[in-house]
Assembly symmetry: C2
Homo-oligomer: 444 residues x 2
């Protein structure tokens, strides 16, 4: 194509679109608008920056605006797009300037949602690099010893661990009855144990009612249904919503999840030349066969590539997701793919679950630790619908083997015999995946 | 069944057969004959025992004779079976005693093959626990500072590393032009670099002509085509042969590899009630579609299970192998599955290879290191025929994801989009497997 490609949002999805468009078409004019002060950064790295494992915030930036500029991409930092005029093919910027486009990629991401409680404005979200920078500065000033993290999903757990590494006293509060609600509770309990082992105080089935402020408007505590907790730092990890206001105001459609509806080409439903990718869009879940909205850098990267390629005349297709995720939490690795037992039941599938505890390495090898593998298996066919893994360091990436089983619709009866690798430093003679499949095949 | 199940060989395959037979049939009489002094031990753990990472040799024994006895298995240690009379259904033991059987499982393993050179009798094989015990005693006596390891396959490399950990000066000698000949040379070079980085002196394209002995008959050096090397310890890792003499003397058939020919039920070709498993048998290679003889504990365990179950009236089928293997060598992990580029060419397949260098973790994450992933891809279909991975610690287990791709016949075009896991401590935003598939798909 010739003409002008505009991109709204300068993080993973947007800049993947920009870079892939540039690679495909050296002539197209590419301009990207980012309202914050960083491009292409690793939001997933924020807890490690806060905890001090990553010293320099710039290390989290995969590619700076300058490097994008060198690649022929015009990056406008701290520039917010406030409206889209689809008829005139123009963007309106904060301040009123207008910018034309021929093709448009929306990669506006998601934003943290603060719970509707008094004092929420004095908290920090766990999500942006700007917020992380502020919080770390306050931590390094030694400003208070107590912290409360609200939300015990994987980001909340990672943040709690980071604050423990800063030698704070940390309470983790969630309304749900168990931490890491993306896992089935019988697997999440291994995460809770590890978190408690690090000294994180966990308050589940507990709601946060108010952030208590001192006279300066800074947090001094949190009032919860389980009583008052001291807190000089309050971090919100209570979930996010896709940032779609500008798009919907322009008439673009959202789907049932509230995120932008796109087809498998990342094309916004019913509109030519407008594409969207990343945290702001819906993805097709291959097992649930319905749209989901998942915020993950890996999807953002892939979808951004598809949007950038297709916006410059290519024809790539996103085949959908199966809900794979991983985290290293409190010295354990935690991972899942496909459907949990609860999701399978909700979806009306006739499934059973089977869990094994195995060794992460040969039993005698230093560093060996337990690995729990839970499989969710369709009755009759024996097909692996989902898997969850919690275990010692290095255990987690086994989820990819299981993701391949789910993706390919393999049955446990076959999976138990697959030629997987074995050596004492990396597994038992039968990998935990094979043991799990064997036990499930017997139960079948 | 009722009657008597005899098992020849008390290591992985044999004792897996025994345990699974017992689980299936609480009445069958089970007797196992082992000529050595250990059962169910991890030969793969020998280098770690020699190097001192594993202190106690008993740690390498997964299940002692006593524990097998508690499980109702009659284990006869240091008892060699010297002949099989298939007509009379009897075994002959060294010493002349005879033992009857109704069903028979042969799990005689493999034995080290010494090269036909003068002095070979004064060397130690890298293979048995008995030999490892002798060698470690000599190392701990501080008997000499120089060692030569003959054979630079993965066992030779592991042994060389173990001896370096004992602070010996170690030379590694092989006739082949590169170390780790199971890999393509362009991948093996990363292993060589790591081995040299540890201080192992490598002599490839070098043949060993004589082990030089002192007046006591102990090694003092090795004469090679590249000159004389001092050596108080000479370890042979020059390969093994299936131990089939007793079986072939009884009329059982071997296949083209020299190992026992069995069907997918682990039944010895043409004989009722005689089964074989582990290092002494052929396995069907799913990609080459011909028998291979691979010595690996994981196959031994699976095949032993099948033999034990089928010998007690069950009906399990071994679906074959694809050549998956892994090793942690010299601070790197090295793994392969399916066909190498060379094997694909030998098999007459129209294939190309594609290699990427990626990060094992997020680029900014402590402990990140390079991972090289080489894919061997069929032209036209794009099917992944094989993969090789060399990289930093934790990189190797990715081979299982690739083994799943090979097993399922996946094409790179699909593989590049699979929903694999991402978090900064365990991978880049795109796992190296996805990056490799993406690059190969473009080349396709």
């Amino acid at each position: 194509m010739s003409g002008r490609l505009a991109i709204v949002g300068g993080d993973a999805a947007g800049m993947s679109a920009a870079a892939n468009a540039r690679r495909r078409d050296s002539d197209v004019e590419i301009v990207a608008f980012e309202k914050g002060s960083f491009t292409s950064y690793s939001a997933c790295g924020i807890p490690y920056y806060l905890g001090g494992l990553i010293e320099d915030i710039d290390d989290l930036v995969a590619r700076s605006p300058e490097r994008h500029e060198e690649n022929g991409i015009d990056v406008r930092m701290e520039t917010e797009v406030v409206a889209i005029d689809l008829d005139r093919r123009e963007l309106e910027l904060a301040g009123g300037a207008r910018e034309g486009f021929d093709q448009l990629v929306l990669a506006t991401g998601a934003r943290a949602v603060a719970p509707p409680i008094p004092g929420a404005e004095a908290t920090e979200p766990a999500r942006t690099l700007d917020a992380a920078q502020r919080l770390r500065e306050r931590l390094e000033r030694g400003d208070g010893h107590d912290a409360v993290v609200v939300g015990a999903g994987y980001i909340g757990l990672e943040m709690a661990e980071a604050l423990i590494e800063r030698e704070l006293r940390v309470a983790l509060v969630d309304q749900a009855p168990e931490v890491f609600p993306a896992l089935d509770p019988d697997m999440a309990v291994h995460v809770r144990e590890a978190a408690e082992g690090l000294g994180i105080e966990i308050f589940t089935s507990t709601s946060v009612e108010e952030v208590l402020l001192d006279d300066d408007g800074a947090p001094r505590g949190v009032r919860t249904s389980a009583g008052e907790l001291p807190a000089r730092h309050v971090v919100l990890a209570t979930g996010v919503k896709p940032a779609v206001d500008v798009a919907t105001s322009a008439g673009l459609q959202t789907g049932p999840t509230g995120a932008l509806a796109v087809d498998a080409h990342q094309r916004c439903a019913g509109v030519e030349g407008v594409w969207a990718a990343g945290d702001c869009v819906e993805s097709h879940h291959r097992l649930l066969d319905r749209p989901v909205n998942i915020q993950l850098g890996t999807h953002a990267n892939k979808q951004g590539r598809i949007a950038g390629v297709n916006a410059t005349g290519g024809d790539l297709v996103f085949p959908g997701v199966i809900g794979t995720a991983i985290s290293r939490l409190c010295k354990r690795e935690v991972a899942l793919t496909g459907l949990t037992e609860a999701q399978a039941a909700d979806a009306g599938l006739d499934a059973f679950a089977s869990t094994v505890e195995a060794d992460s390495r040969a039993a005698y090898f230093p560093g060996n630790g337990p690995v729990w593998v839970k499989l969710v298996v369709e009755r009759g066919s024996g097909r692996v619908l989902g898997a969850q893994v919690v275990g010692a360091e290095t255990a987690g990436k086994r989820i990819d083997t299981l993701a391949m089983a789910v993706w390919n619709g393999m049955a446990v009866d076959e999976l138990q015999w697959v030629d997987l690798s074995y050596a004492p430093p990396v597994s038992g003679v039968l990998d935990p995946v094979l043991i799990a499949a064997r036990v499930a095949a017997k139960e079948l």
